[in-house]
């Protein structure tokens, strides 16, 4: 299910994963688990919940789970693109807060106006991060850390305390649905399809993973590295802003101080658990979606069985480390074999 892989030596080369020759054959080895472990874990956890959790398999419960996970999926996909380039975006939570802070100010222009201004907040922060990272070559972690703290500060200054939002458009987006499917979930599905097409069918997607595989080689090969990198951070910012819009719509309120706290960690976890390597060069869109669903389900399972939030948090931390460890382990073993 590897959507696209590039060996570091040849950035623009077609997918050439070790063992690509026998891709057709099914082998149950470490590589299979690395690529498909997240789907397996998801299925196992669903089955376990069907057995042990009462009322798990009801439409209401399923609906609630999907509505809750939808914004996380949207942020995680932006994060997956950034991680695919070998970078990281710690500012996503602050961008969500910033979006939440500006929406009430522009409700006078109607639903569309407020929505657009909210998304513009993501474009601006993404453009700032992308420019500083791609042109000035500041490490992504520092640039986005600075925006994370500064952005949250600005959100608190312009947003202040919790404001309730009484706008029919936002109410419909947050709690309405078409043919039984909530709008929030539909938006997430559209984002999944768009990102998947972007990564599998466009030159941009090809450039993105090439840069993640080996930025220097990509540059020497004449790829527009700075432009692609900037675009990736803008996309991550816009998707984070969209997630902020979804949450504001769902809560019918804007709370810049608390919205999106620690979301960056959840998103990184979803991406890593989904099998995208932190070193870049590969983006697994469907894996990321499964990763987000898995993390949501793990927390739900723990909380549904009276395990407190604090313990759930510690379990999540352990899963992050284990998932990254499994990745690094597989890659190291593979390298030593080569």
């Amino acid at each position: 299910m590897a959507e696209r892989t590039v060996t570091p030596a040849a950035p623009a080369a077609p997918p050439a994963e070790p063992g690509a020759a026998d891709r057709g054959r099914f082998r149950l080895d470490g590589a299979w688990f690395r690529n498909n472990g997240v789907y397996l874990a998801l299925v196992v956890l669903v089955v376990v919940n069907l057995v042990i959790t009462p009322h798990f398999a009801t439409t209401g419960s399923l609906r609630l789970q999907l509505v809750q996970v939808a914004p996380i999926i949207v942020v995680s996909l932006g994060m997956a693109l950034v991680i695919g380039t070998g970078g990281i975006d710690l500012s996503v939570g602050a961008v969500m807060a910033l979006t939440a802070a500006v929406i009430p100010l522009y409700l006078g222009y109607g639903f569309t106006g407020a929505l657009l201004v909210g998304l513009v907040a993501g474009v601006v922060t993404g453009l700032l991060a992308g420019t500083v990272i791609s042109r000035v070559r500041v490490q992504p972690i520092i640039a986005t850390l600075a925006i994370m703290v500064g952005g949250r500060g600005i959100a608190n200054i312009i947003g202040g305390e919790i404001k309730s939002i009484r706008d029919p458009g936002f109410r419909e987006l947050g709690s309405g649905s078409v043919i039984g499917i909530p709008w929030v979930v539909l938006v997430a599905v559209v984002v999944i399809v768009v990102v998947r097409v972007l990564m599998t069918r466009t030159t941009f997607g090809r450039y993105l993973v090439s840069i993640g595989g080996n930025a220097r080689a990509a540059e020497l090969a004449g790829l527009p590295v700075a432009r692609v990198l900037t675009t990736v951070y803008v996309l991550s910012g816009v998707l984070a802003a969209l997630a902020g819009v979804l949450l504001v719509a769902r809560n019918q309120a804007s709370d810049p101080t608390r919205l999106g706290q620690l979301v960056e960690l959840t998103a990184i976890t979803a991406v890593v658990v989904g099998g995208t390597p932190l070193t870049g060069g590969q983006v697994r869109v469907l894996g990321t979606v499964a990763g987000a669903l898995l993390m949501q389900l793990i927390v739900f399972t723990l909380v549904a069985h009276d395990i407190t939030n604090s313990v759930a948090q510690m379990v999540q931390a352990a899963i992050v480390v284990l998932a990254v460890y499994a990745q690094v382990g597989t890659r190291m073993r593979r390298r030593s074999r080569a």
């Binding site: 972690i141 608190n156 960690l265 931390a317 992050v320």
Partner: protein
């Protein structure tokens, strides 16, 4: 100000004019000090209360907590790593100290140090032995320490108080020669840090790892041991800062320390330490800490600005400094 550097290409520029290089390196190393002095001069003219002894003492005390954390961060960044867990570990140390103070001052100090040192040890082992990226391991550490802290404090609902008669309160509230114990402690710790950097084999090893880890490994330096030790020290120092704040406020507040990692990183970077690792100074970090604290103090003096502006200004300063660093590094290399 003393600087140690490994023979790294970025620091031995070829082709650039030596005078210009010297100027650039001086700006890189002393820039924060110049800004600090200018800001202090400006503030003491602008605000009557700024240079008063009580305000200076309060800046010193406030800065001491961050200074302790930033010292550990300095060595971590020397190795080319990063420790995002320090804010949570700091808060955890505070809650453990306040909880432990009911069993005596010794427990209040040793329990947090043991737990925070252990967290540092586990992170260090995973990073150095497992070969995982420091930021992801310490990001998980941030989450874990926050979870543990909430677990201890009944999901954040309980704030443990230090008993009124406990000698533990004196640790941060007492003073010697009119200067609070925490400030003395910071002076001692930074002197020890500078000695470690310049007078022991640990210092050059840390910088060599940051300069080029593979080369350090090939030279036979104890890479794994040094990295583990560095993360243990960072955990211990963050825990110690927690102990100090618990003693200072006589309570263990669960919500402190959010964003402290950024402040610590900012202080280190402002002090002229390269984020890529391999070069920097210990006392530069102290200047960075003081600069951040003076900025916070000045923002407080300007009545119309609320505390959120501190976040905005620290974020902007960090971004500005790294951009400047990149620009200066680029101009010496070409």
């Amino acid at each position: 100000m003393s600087t140690v550097s490994t023979p790294e290409p970025t620091l031995t520029p070829t082709g650039a004019r030596p005078q210009r290089v010297q100027l650039v390196q001086r700006v890189q190393r002393q820039g924060a000090l110049v800004v600090l002095v200018l800001l202090c001069v400006y503030a003491s003219f602008q605000f009557d209360t700024f240079a008063s002894s009580s305000n200076v003492r309060s800046i010193g005390l406030q800065a001491s907590f961050l200074a302790v954390i930033a010292l550990g961060m300095t060595f971590v960044i020397f190795t080319g790593g990063i420790d995002l867990s320090v804010g949570s570990v700091f808060a955890l140390g505070g809650v453990l100290a306040a909880w432990g103070s009911q069993y005596g001052a010794a427990v209040a100090v040793l329990l947090p140090l043991a737990v925070c040192g252990l967290i540092g040890l586990v992170q260090g082992l995973i990073i150095a032995r497992g070969g995982l990226a420091p930021f992801i391991v310490t990001l998980a550490g941030l989450l874990f320490a926050r979870g543990l802290l909430l677990f201890i404090s009944d999901e954040g609902g309980t704030v443990y108080k230090v008993p009124a008669d406990s000698s533990f309160r004196d640790l941060a509230q007492g003073s010697f020669l009119g200067i609070g114990y925490p400030i003395w402690l910071v002076v001692v710790l930074y002197l020890v840090g500078a000695l470690m950097l310049h007078r022991t084999s640990y210092g050059p090893t840390v910088l060599a790892i940051g300069g080029q880890e593979d080369a350090a490994q090939l030279m036979g330096l104890p890479v794994v041991r040094t990295k583990v030790l560095t993360y243990v020290a960072s955990g211990l120092l963050a825990g110690l800062a927690g102990v100090l704040i618990a003693s200072y406020t006589s309570s263990g507040v669960p919500i402190i320390g959010v964003g402290t990692e950024l402040q610590a990183i900012s202080a280190v970077v402002l002090g002229g330490t390269l984020l890529a690792g391999g070069a920097g100074t210990v006392f530069g970090t102290l200047v960075g800490v003081l600069l951040l604290q003076v900025i916070a103090n000045v923002i407080n003096q300007v009545g119309s600005l609320n505390s959120n502006w501190q976040d905005v200004v620290s974020g902007a300063i960090l971004l500005g400094v790294v951009v400047l660093q990149r620009y200066l590094a680029g101009s010496t290399r070409r």
